[in-house]
């Protein structure tokens, strides 16, 4: 068994803390929430310290923050219908671009691995793909209306320009740009969850996707290409995605977020039962019917719902979590 050792509790936000995002080098992160404020935290010695507060970017709740892969830009998605892009070209962090277009609440924002594309989604059921067109200039490349309900989360494939989205309509969708006519289109719809899909995380290869839902399950999906050796029929398309594993019976309430560590391969979940759980793929697991074991259950990780979990990108087994209780916690996973 492994255990999650708490390194630090960070307070300062008023009300719900919805999300946190590690800077790519892992020595800094951003957090956001109901108080419409973004806080930037840096590691000084062994301790995390709040260094910068970004205010006046949004009129309503900030639902998610995301660092660009280069670490120079921070995007924030808000219930006010806008996405703000922050950078410190002037020496300190400022909002230098605002992406407008969603009809109402923006729920999620994500940068593509190249940093050239940005995706946003929201309650207006749409997913938008934006291209970085120049200094502080962003152009809408596509508006994707494939979902028929509130879109909760967007996440990019780790190495190619494939986008995934999760929705209140219980499905997950994957999109990519058609090379012939350069139109973005939905290439797969993943049906299996029985309620809202809240979170999405690709593994490091991008051949697998983990999703979490209000139906209290986690599902692992695997991509099969046209030339697959397993005999999965792939008609008229490049690949299909199949649910190869369902983790049920572990969570007692809605699962709000999921994080798949690209170094250790561990999966962490944030749940409405106040618990953080960590799963590990079994050693002799069959790739086409993988088995994941629960290796850590951190009871009362927070005093209220856990909204977000993120692994430190440096691969040091640090995990960040944030909650309705207004707190952010930094954990270290210790395996024996």
């Amino acid at each position: 068994m492994a255990k999650l050792e708490m390194l630090q509790t960070l307070t300062g936000h008023k009300g719900i803390v919805w999300n946190a995002s590690w800077h790519p080098h892992g020595k800094m992160f951003a957090s956001c929430g109901e108080d419409k404020i973004i806080k930037l935290w840096n590691k000084e010695g062994e301790k995390w310290v709040m260094k910068t507060v970004l205010v006046d970017g949004h009129q309503r709740t900030i639902r998610e923050v995301a660092w660009s892969p280069c670490g120079n830009f921070l995007a924030s998605a808000s219930f006010d219908g806008t996405t703000a892009i922050w950078d410190k070209k002037s020496g300190q962090f400022e909002c230098n671009a605002t992406l407008e277009g969603h009809e109402n609440e923006v729920k999620s924002v994500a940068w593509s691995p190249s940093g050239q594309l940005l995706a946003t989604c929201g309650r207006d059921k749409s997913v938008w793909v934006w291209e970085v067109a120049g200094d502080d200039e962003y152009v809408c490349e596509a508006v994707l209306n494939a979902h028929n309900q509130d879109v909760k989360k967007v996440a990019w494939h780790p190495s190619s320009d494939v986008l995934a989205s999760a929705s209140y309509d219980n499905t997950v969708k994957l999109y990519k740009e058609d090379q012939l006519d350069s139109d973005w289109a939905c290439m797969a719809t993943l049906h299996s969850h029985e309620s809202t899909v809240w979170g999405l995380a690709f593994d490091k290869t991008g051949k697998r996707l983990a999703t979490c839902s209000d139906d209290k399950t986690v599902k692992i999906w695997q991509e099969y290409n046209a030339d697959n050796q397993e005999g999965v029929i792939v008609a008229d398309r490049d690949s299909i995605w199949k649910c190869v594993c369902t983790l049920s019976g572990y969570h007692t309430r809605c699962i709000y977020d999921i994080a798949w560590c690209h170094t250790s391969g561990l999966i962490a979940t944030a749940s409405g039962d106040d618990i953080i759980r960590v799963f590990k793929e079994a050693d002799n697991s069959d790739p086409n019917a993988p088995q994941f074991d629960l290796i850590c259950t951190k009871l009362n990780a927070h005093s209220r719902d856990v909204n977000c979990v993120k692994w430190n990108p440096s691969g040091n087994q640090e995990l960040i979590s944030c909650s309705d209780d207004g707190e952010i916690k930094i954990w270290k996973l210790i395996e024996d």
């Binding site: 729920k107 309650r123 209140y168 409405g272 005093s303 719902d305 309705d324």
Partner: protein, 155 residues
Amino acid sequence: MTKTADNVNPNVYEKGSEREVTSAELDEDVLDDIDEREIFDLIRNINDPEHPLTLEELRVVEQQNVFIDNKQNLVRVYFTPTIPHCSMATLIGLSIRVQLLRALPSRFKVTVEISEGTHMSEHAVNKQLADKERIAAALENNNLVQIINQCIASS
């Protein structure tokens, strides 16, 4: 334009009696868990959005449809719309939820659902009331909060 109520002539029922406060409840040294009756008292006087009546008088809420588990910090309330196509069901559920969010200690997980089989869009309304992100967004809408506050404000 005046909107007519969905259910113009609802059945009206007697109000229950006030709860008697026992001497043990006034004793600071007695450990006193929150019970169903206390939860019911928090919601029975919520006003109906369309009628000058309380949710208790319309039997939208009843004590027998309130459940609490103090050990697990769970509260579950079922409410019964007066008619199966009531367009106010979501607003009523939201008012109950907001009242309990404000009045109960934050350790409680509150679930508000329609009594099984009493509304045409039961599943959709329940899903909406269970989505805390949509609730949070709704509570940032000043017009809506005003309407909810009017429902919750007991005379």
